[in-house]
Amino acid sequence: MTTATLAPDRSATRRSARGGRRLDRYSGLGLGVAMLWFSLLVLIPLTAVVVTASEGGWGGFWDAVTNEQTAAAIRLTVGTALGVTVVNVVMGTLIAWVLVRDRFFGKRLLEILIDIPFALPTIVAGLVLLSLYGPESPLGIDVHNTRIAVFLAFLFVTLPFIVRTVQPVLAELDREVEEAAASLGASRFTTFRRIILPSLTPAIAAGAALSFARGVSEYGSLVLLSGNLPMRTEVTSVRILSSIENDNLDNASAVAAVLLAISFAVIVILDIIQRRVIRRG
């Protein structure tokens, strides 16, 4: 058996013994099969989107994307996703804080509530929100077919992301660090701002990136809730779908390429954040 240990990079090996053996015949074959499947399922189809989008040339792409109705949809999607992410940064951090630092009856139930948007079918999520914030709202709040409905739907489906990225980091935080700050004279607020928050920033940023990406790509929860009114409540995914249904795949691909670019940007950001965290140790 060939054993090849990586040169121990102190900062990287602290947590886990990453890396390891070189590929042998079986693992090489396994990787080949996995890559073939992954290519057929994900890489080639996504490449097809980009290729189809570029077939019409830059002009065609630009025309498709800047079409009045499409541009409005992209503006609404990105703007709402940004707004929702801002809310999530505050609420997600607060929820994570309460879940880690507070203890009270029913906390387990809150933990379950937070994961539900992740597992709930998006069409059901739309229906769920419609039952409280739709025409038959027991609260008398009817937001369906408005932009608020889009905001609400994004808020629902992105709920878990920041909570779930911040929570473990917060739980792992060394309480002694806060005590050290206190004994050096820092008030609770100063300790939070200068010690705790900087430690959480990478996790918050990672969660925010995921939350933004999820918001931008949302479709299912809006179908019943937002009414998909052109120029008003129509999001990018809906625009793409109507292009597909009109058999205009070039147009659909052009708009889809915009969404893909956003997804890739998010992945690059996440990777950068992860590397910075490893450096800090």
Binding site: L113, I116, Y219, V238, S253
Partner: protein, 269 residues
């Protein structure tokens, strides 16, 4: 340090109210709407052969997708954690792509490649008698695509945590690769795999957008449970929509509860 401050109660109250208004109450109302005519809504959907067919199709697709994603996910996790190869980091980043791609784009991308008329591979496959788009294979592929990272995301951290000392010990005691995997690695990661499977199942059963694009949505043939919800609601059969949504929500909530019940057990192992 004393944490007996009013701030704590304010934070707790805000969080509870927020989650109640955003998740708990709306979810409860779906249940209430389902049962507001007694069991009538539920009965009407289980007696509708098209709905039953859709539920069965969703379940079948979900099971196939989960099996594929589990085998693929565990395999690729092992490769990522235990082996070194060029492009590993890129692959690791690409594996998360499905999480942030719009389901409509997923559907579109599959249509572009496997579409029967103009797809890259579609016509060739169709000549060989294999229809992907507007048929079950397309639905399965779309479902596998969207749920692909879930098993990997659960298993990779566990594999890293466990380390490979036990595996090396097993090999030094004469176990071959398969024996090592079956008797040492798999038991060590079984909870990670379980969470991944449960989450994948919930996600697969509930996929909507991607399936809508690739399935063709043919009543009694390629219409899945989530498509039924939309169709019923838009056709003013709200009772049927709520009842179907209730069944799907039940599975999702059950999945989350199962994971939440299992997790602490693993911690005091």
């Amino acid at each position: 340090m004393a944490e007996r401050r009013p701030g704590r109660y304010v934070a707790r109250l805000i969080v509870v109210v927020y989650l109640f208004l955003l998740v708990a109450w709306p979810l409860f109302l779906v249940g209430q709407n389902t049962f507001d005519g007694g069991l009538e809504n539920l009965r009407s959907i289980v007696e509708d052969p098209d709905v039953v067919h859709a539920l069965r199709l969703s379940l079948m697709v979900a099971v196939i997708a989960v099996v594929i994603n589990t085998v693929f996910g565990v395999g690729i996790s092992l490769l990522l954690v235990r082996y070194e190869f060029p492009g590993k980091r890129l692959l690791s980043a690409l594996l998360d792509v499905p999480l942030s791609v719009s389901p409509i784009v997923v559907g579109l991308s599959l249509v572009l490649v496997y579409g029967g008329r103009n797809g890259w591979f579609g016509p060739t496959l169709e000549d060989a008698g294999i229809q992907v788009i507007f048929a079950t294979p397309g639905i399965v592929m779309a479902t596998v695509f969207v749920a692909l990272p879930l098993v990997i995301r659960e298993v990779v951290p566990v594999l890293e945590e466990v380390g490979d000392e036990q595996e090396q010990a097993a090999r030094s005691l004469g176990a071959n690769g398969f024996q090592t995997f079956w008797r040492i690695t798999l038991p060590a990661i079984k909870w990670g795999v379980t969470y991944g499977v449960v989450l994948s199942l919930a996600r697969s059963l509930g996929e909507f957008g991607a399936v809508k694009v690739v399935s063709g949505n043919v009543l009694g043939e390629t219409r899945t449970a989530t498509l039924v919800v939309e169709e019923k609601y838009l056709n003013f059969d709200k009772g049927g929509a709520y009842a179907t949504a209730f069944l799907l929500a039940l599975v999702a909530v059950a999945a989350i509860v199962v994971v939440s019940v299992l997790r602490p057990k693993e911690e005091d192992r």
